[in-house]
Amino acid sequence: MPAAVKAPASLRRLFDEIGTVDHVGIEERVVKYTTRSIKKKSKVFGLRLAVSMVDLTTLEGKDTPGKVASLCQKALTPHDTGGIPSTAAVCVYPAMVKHAKKHVAGTKVKVASVATAFPSGQAPLKTRLAEVRAAVNDGADEIDMVINRGAFLSGEFGLMQDEIAAVVEACGVARLKVILEVSELETYHNIRAASFLAMRVIRPNDFIKTSTGKTSSNATLGNNQVMLEAIRDHFLATGVPIAMKPAGGIRTAKQALHFLIAVKETLGDEWLNNRRYRFGASALLNDLVRQLEKERTGAYQAPWNFSEATEGY
C-alpha cells in the first residue's frame, strides 16, 4: 500500500461517514448527568442494578488461587444481608481462569479473562490468539481483549479490524469485550472512530470497553458518552446492539449512578441490564454495598466494616 493514502486520508473518510465529536459539547452534556438527584427507591434500584453489572476484577502480579477464591465468594454474595444480587462476573488473568471457574461454575456469575497480551497487546498475533483459546478452554465465559492501538494510530484500520475478527473467531462461544484503551487514543474523535471500527467486526451483544485500568486515565463520563452515542448510531443504522463496559476509575456509588443515568438517557431501558452494560471495577463494589446498607438501615456503618480491598469487605 502506498504510504500516501494512510492515516489522514482513511481517517477523514471514516469521519465523513460517522460524523465528528465536539469536545466542549460532550463535556457540557455529561455535566448534566451529575446534577441528577437520585433518591430513595430509585437510588436502591440504581445501586442494586450497578452491583449486578460489576465485573469484579483483580489483575495483579501477586494474584493467587486463594485471592481468586475469595474474590469469587464475594462476587457470588456481595454481602451477608439478603437481597443484594451477585455481580455479573469476576475478571482475572488467564492463569487464574481455572481457579475461578471452580468456584462459580453453575452460578449466574461468569468468568471473564483479560487476554491478548493485556494490557499492552504488544505480542505476536499468534501468541495473543493462543492466549485467548487457552482461557476459553480453561472455562472463560468472556474475553477482554485490547486493540492494536499502534495500528489504529498509524491509520492501518484494516489490520486493527482483522485482528479483532481473529479474536472473535478464537472466542468461540465466549463473549468478547474490545478494550479501546481510550487514554492512548487521546481525542474523542479517535474514540468514536475506534468504536465504529470495532463494532463493525464484533457480534451482537459483544462489548466495547474503555480501558485496561493500567494507564493514567480511565473511564470518564465524557468517553463513556462518546462510546454510548457510537453504540446508539450503530444500532439505529444496522440493528446490531453492542454492549458497553466502562472500566477503571469508577470507585464510588455516586459515580456509578452518573454512568447509569447516561445509559438511561442515551440508550434507554434496553441497555439497563448486565447483558448490555458492565462496570469494570474493584473498589466500587464495596461502596455500592456500603450505600445499600445505609439505605437499608438508615445509617452509615462503621468505617472498618468496609475496606477498599477487592476481595474483602
Binding site: 465529536v21 457540557e28 438527584s37 465466549a174 439505529l236 447509569l260 438517557e265 439497563l272
Partner: protein, 497 residues
C-alpha cells in the same frame, strides 16, 4: 476447535428504535432550603420597606401550583415620585463617593448574594416557575458574578475612555422582565451603581419577590439609603418610572411592543435610553457540524428556562441534507426531558410563568398546526395544576408561518431548512429582530464569515446561550439598542465628555 456463536447474524429489533420507558423512574427530589418568604412585601424606598401610599396590594402566585405566595404592594405615581426623590437625594453623596468605596459596597452585595444563594434560588423558582437546577446553577451565581465584575470596575472607570471625562447620569429608571427576575436586576443595578448612579427599579408584576428580597440584601450590606429603590407594580408603575422627570436615563428589558411605547413617550426628551427587546433567533446547523452536540445546543437554546429567553434559538435552520437526521435526534433527545415540579432537582422544564403566557403559547402552537407545520412533542404527563407546556418541535415550517415570524417565548422550536450558505443568511436575517444567532459547523472560516453576515448582536459558534459579565449583550433592529455587560454595557451608564 471451540464452537462458535452464529456469525454476526444481526438479531434486529424490527422497530429499531430506542426505548425510553419507566424501567428506572426517579423519585421526587425536591429542594428543601427555606426561601424565607414574607406574607406581605412592601416597596423599598430610601433604605426602608414602606407600604404603598394607596395601601393597595396585589397577589403573586406560584405558577407551578397556582397557589398564592404573598401580597405585593402596588406602587403608584406618588410612590414612584418618592422613590425618585430619594434616589436624587442619595445621588448627592453616592455620585461623589470614590470609586473604591462604591466597589466595596458592590463586593459586599455580591458576597451576600452568594451567602443567600439557596434561599434566593428557591424563591426565584417558586415565584417564576423556572427549574431549581437553573436558578441554583445559573441565575443566582450569574447575578453574583455581575456584582463582582462591576465591583472591580468601580475604581477603574477612567480606563473606559482614556483622556475623556466621565460622569454618572444621576437617577436611572429601570424596568425588567419576568424571565430572569434576579439576573436582570443584577444586569441593571450592578453597572448603574458601579458608574455612580442611583436606581429606581420596577420588577415584573408576576416576579417581584426576589427583587424585594434584594432590598433586604441592600440593607444587610449597609448600602446608603436611597441608592437603590424598588417599586413593585404593573405597567402603570413602569410608565411612571420611565416618564418621571428625575430619571435622566432609562433602561428597559421586555417586549418590543412595550419598548416602542416607551420610546414614543420619551421622544423629544433628553433622557438616554437602552432597550433590550424581543428576538427570533436563528440557530443554523451546517451538514459538517458534530450533530449530537449541535442537538444538545439546540435543546439548550430553546428549552432553557421553558424558552422564556429573548435570545432563545427558536428558529432552527438545518441544511437540507441532514434535516431528517437532526429531527430524529431531536425527538430522541426531548424524550428524556423531564417536565414537572420546578423545585424538583431533576426537572428540566418547569412551569410557564403565567396563565396569560401559556395562552399565548397555546394559541401560536395552534396556528402552527393550522398552517400545516408538522408538530412533535415528547408526550410526557403534565401536572394537573399549574401552567405547563410540553417541549414541542415543528418540522416543515416555512418562512411565512406565524411560528417562524412571531416571538413565542415558550418551549416551541420551528425547524426550517436551507440549501446554501447564502440561503441560510437570507432566511436568518429575514426578521424584524436581530438579537442573537447560532452557527454550528466544523469549519472555522465559515463561522467567521457567518458572524459578519448575520445581523444579530450576539453570534454563538458551536454553542448557545452562553453568558458572561465581561461579554456585552444586546441587539439590533427591533431587538433594541445599547449593551449590557462588559465595557460597552458600563459606558451606557455614563456620560462621556
Amino acid at each position: 476447535m471451540p464452537k462458535t456463536l452464529s456469525p454476526s447474524k444481526p438479531k434486529t429489533n424490527p422497530a429499531r428504535e430506542l426505548v425510553f420507558g419507566d424501567l428506572w423512574e426517579f423519585d421526587p427530589a425536591p429542594e428543601t432550603a427555606d426561601p424565607k418568604l414574607k406574607k406581605k412585601y412592601d416597596i423599598f424606598i430610601n433604605g426602608r420597606f414602606v407600604p404603598s401610599r394607596s395601601g393597595k396590594y396585589f397577589a403573586t402566585i406560584n405558577p407551578a401550583t397556582e397557589a398564592k405566595i404573598a401580597d405585593i404592594a402596588l406602587a403608584d405615581a406618588s410612590d414612584v415620585d418618592a422613590a425618585c426623590s430619594a434616589a436624587q437625594r442619595a445621588f448627592i453623596n453616592w455620585g461623589r463617593l470614590p470609586g473604591k468605596e462604591r466597589g466595596k459596597y458592590l463586593y459586599r452585595i455580591a458576597r451576600l448574594l452568594q451567602d443567600h444563594a439557596r434561599e434566593f434560588a428557591v424563591a426565584e423558582t417558586m415565584d417564576g416557575g423556572k427549574p431549581i437546577k437553573e436558578s441554583r446553577d445559573f441565575d443566582v451565581p450569574m447575578a453574583a458574578a455581575h456584582f463582582f465584575y462591576h465591583a472591580g470596575w468601580a475604581d477603574k472607570l477612567e480606563f473606559l475612555a482614556p483622556g475623556r471625562q466621565l460622569a454618572p447620569h444621576g437617577v436611572v429608571g429601570q424596568v425588567i422582565p419576568w424571565n430572569f427576575p434576579l439576573l436582570m436586576l443584577a444586569w441593571k443595578i450592578a453597572p448603574a451603581l458601579a458608574a455612580g448612579n442611583c436606581v429606581v427599579l420596577k420588577p415584573a408584576e408576576t416576579t417581584s419577590i426576589t427583587a424585594l428580597k434584594f432590598g433586604e440584601i441592600c440593607q444587610e450590606a449597609g448600602l446608603p439609603n436611597g441608592v437603590v429603590n424598588i417599586v413593585s407594580g404593573a405597567g402603570e408603575t413602569g410608565a411612571a418610572v420611565i416618564n418621571h422627570p428625575l430619571t435622566s436615563k432609562v433602561a428597559f428589558t421586555g417586549s418590543t411592543e412595550v419598548g416602542k411605547i416607551i420610546m414614543r413617550s420619551l421622544a423629544g426628551t433628553e433622557k438616554k435610553m437602552t432597550m433590550e427587546l424581543g428576538g427570533k433567533a436563528a440557530n443554523i446547523i451546517f451538514d459538517d457540524a458534530p450533530l449530537d452536540q449541535a442537538v444538545e445546543g439546540i435543546v439548550n437554546g430553546i428549552f432553557f428556562n421553558q424558552g422564556h429567553v429573548c435570545c432563545a434559538g427558536s428558529r432552527l435552520l438545518v441544511q437540507e441534507s441532514i434535516a431528517d437526521e437532526v429531527l430524529a435526534k431531536l425527538k430522541r433527545r426531548i424524550a428524556v426531558l423531564r417536565v414537572g415540579d420546578p423545585l424538583d432537582k431533576n426537572t428540566d422544564l418547569g412551569a410557564i410563568n403565567s396563565a396569560e403566557q401559556l395562552a399565548k403559547i397555546t394559541d401560536l402552537v395552534k396556528s402552527g398546526v393550522a398552517e400545516g407545520a408538522e408538530k412533535h412533542d415528547n408526550g410526557c404527563k403534565l401536572p394537573a395544576k399549574g401552567f405547563f407546556f410540553r417541549p414541542t418541535i415543528f418540522a416543515n415550517v416555512s418562512m411565512s408561518h406565524r411560528i417562524a415570524r412571531e416571538e413565542i417565548f415558550g418551549p416551541v422550536l420551528s425547524i426550517l431548512t436551507f440549501r446554501t450558505l447564502e440561503e441560510a443568511v437570507e432566511k436568518a436575517n429575514n426578521t424584524a429582530y436581530g438579537l442573537s444567532a447560532g452557527v454550528w459547523t466544523d469549519k472555522g472560516s465559515r463561522i467567521l464569515k457567518m458572524s459578519t453576515l448575520l445581523k444579530a448582536g450576539v453570534v454563538w459558534a458551536n454553542t448557545y446561550n452562553k453568558f458572561d459579565p465581561t461579554s456585552p449583550f444586546g441587539g439590533s433592529k427591533e431587538s433594541g439598542f445599547g449593551r449590557e455587560g462588559g465595557k460597552q454595557g458600563l459606558l451606557d451608564y455614563l456620560t462621556v465628555h
